[in-house]
Amino acid sequence: MLPALLEFPFREGYVRSIIYVSLYVSGTAVILSTLFSIPVAIVMGFADFPGKQVVKAIINTGMGFPSVVVGLIVLFVVSNQGPLGALELIFTKEAMIMSQFVLATPPITAISLAAVSGVGDNVRDAARALGGTRLDVALVVIKEARYGIATAVLAGFGRAISEVGSVLIVGGNITSASGISKTRTLTTAIQLEARQGQYNTALVLGVVLVALVLAVNAVVVRFGDEGAMNR
């Protein structure tokens, strides 16, 4: 293991490109998922509608949904034979974003829902009393629940960036001949090395991935702490 660490076994451009693809795909998926999940969480938290329990059950099931199955479903959808075949999304980063969106949404929604439900009714009542529209009330609730929502987003990001099954199936683990990644992420690169039996080099990439996740978590937490200091 040590030799693999001492002489970094990859070309620098290669690792940089797979880090970029990992962050781009997971980051975009999480941002889109957050934009979708937070309104859903607010509606779920404060409104009553028929089928609410069903939606809740779907979200909870989605939390544990196997990522590789999501990959298969997205494959069927974006494949040439599927409904979105004409868009030629197979083996692209966009297809990977789609599958990671599906995977990240349940945890982000569920944890945001818990955070939003924890916001006291008095806060919402006060916002309404001050003449706020429904949108204003929602924004106030989001602001109150922002730590929980940050946790939700981090959970979604963690789920997205560490999954390998679905991005492998819909992305195809492609790099250019010179080693610049097109649809290869850190996780699928690890899978490639492991498949070839190169466990040591796989572990090097694993360390890079863990460091990346820690860095993102640190940034978000620090960002949140600064907010706390300004309160």
Binding site: S79, E88, I97, L139, A177
Partner: protein, 331 residues
């Protein structure tokens, strides 16, 4: 949140100011998000032809999707030879290493333009069902049966692959199988069938993994396994297995040969298959220059692939399913 007080008129106004600015901030953010997403639709409208038009091939700027097996891709051959094709035409080749079964399935679905595998039986089925056109023999290497130096079943140097497998089965020596419908696995199953032995029992383990992993498993357990020569060469330094029976490259039985074929996806079945570029690719890779490049490719100082496409003598069987004859009732 500031302390709750009965709002005065001033506060009403400043609050509606902040309300308005909060709303417009949200609206601006949403608009920016939508605009940003519009840029993500780079998948649509890709493949425009070269704009300067000076001496550029009509296919310039396009992307060819090639699906192939994991063992082919893992040798690094494709990454070594593709740049010359990419430069010649100004295109990009996306090589997707999926495993034989998945590579053919992607081609059947029209998700790839050209497919390169080494499983003649499956290629023939692909041709018969009309999914592929213009098959060419590309290159070959061979399979090797490797195992621990101690060789408990005593198969060293045997000249018949089927006899080797029968001996292993009778000795119930541990044997690791890919078990994943890959080219190597298909070859292994064909050999068992030819030997008339049905493998099964505690000594026969199916890992469902790639070749590298299977070799690692075999190494750890002191088991035999069937491997393509390329993967074994690349892993030789890290495992304790040796070649006990090898294929025709070193004088062994023909049954262990590993021929590679390439086929274009039939544009009659999939309209949006990039047929022009596939044929350019097949034309290039079967040309003397590329075939020489294939022969020159080495791994750990050893030649891995032996070119087959360029030949003085005609080879009609490469174009049709094996055994097909124009005189018979074959389709």
């Amino acid at each position: 949140m500031s302390k709750q007080r009965f709002p005065t008129e001033d506060q009403n106004e400043s609050r509606s100011d902040t309300t308005v600015s909060r709303r417009s901030l949200l609206a601006a953010g949403a608009a920016a998000g939508i605009a940003g997403l519009a840029g993500c639709s780079g998948a649509l409208g890709s493949g425009q032809s070269g704009q300067d038009g000076q001496d550029q091939a009509g296919v310039a700027g396009e992307t060819l999707t090639l699906t192939t097996t994991t063992s082919t891709y893992d040798t690094g051959l494709l990454d070594a030879i593709h740049p010359s094709f990419e430069e010649m035409y100004g295109v990009t080749v996306d090589a997707v290493a999926q495993g034989t079964g998945a590579a053919l399935e992607s081609a059947r679905n029209g998700d790839s333009d050209v497919v390169m595998v080494h499983a003649r039986g499956l290629e023939d089925e692909f041709l018969r069902n009309g999914y592929g056109v213009n098959r060419r023999d590309l290159m070959f290497n061979d399979f090797v049966i490797v195992g621990p130096e101690s060789d408990p079943a005593g198969i060293q140097g045997m000249s018949s692959a089927t006899e080797t497998l029968t001996t292993i089965a009778e000795a119930q020596a541990p044997f690791v199988s890919r078990g994943d419908n890959s080219g190597t696995h298909t070859k292994e199953l064909n050999l068992w069938e030819a030997a008339g032995t049905e493998p099964g029992g505690d000594w026969y383990q199916e890992t469902g993994t790639g070749m590298g992993e299977a070799l690692n498993v075999a190494n750890q357990q002191g088991a035999y396994t069937l491997s393509d020569r390329g993967t074994f060469i690349s892993q030789r330094s890290e495992i304790d297995l040796t070649i006990l029976v090898q294929g025709p490259i070193e004088g062994g039985p023909e049954s262990l040969s590993n021929p590679y074929g390439i086929m274009a996806v039939n544009p009659g079945v999939h309209e949006n298959a990039n047929y022009d570029l596939s044929m350019a690719y097949i034309g290039w890779i079967t040309s003397p220059a590329a075939q020489d490049a294939i022969a020159d490719y080495q791994m750990n100082g050893e030649q891995l692939f032996f070119p087959r496409a360029v030949s003085e003598d005609p080879d009609f069987q490469q174009y049709v399913p094996e055994g097909w004859s124009g005189d018979s009732d074959d389709e």
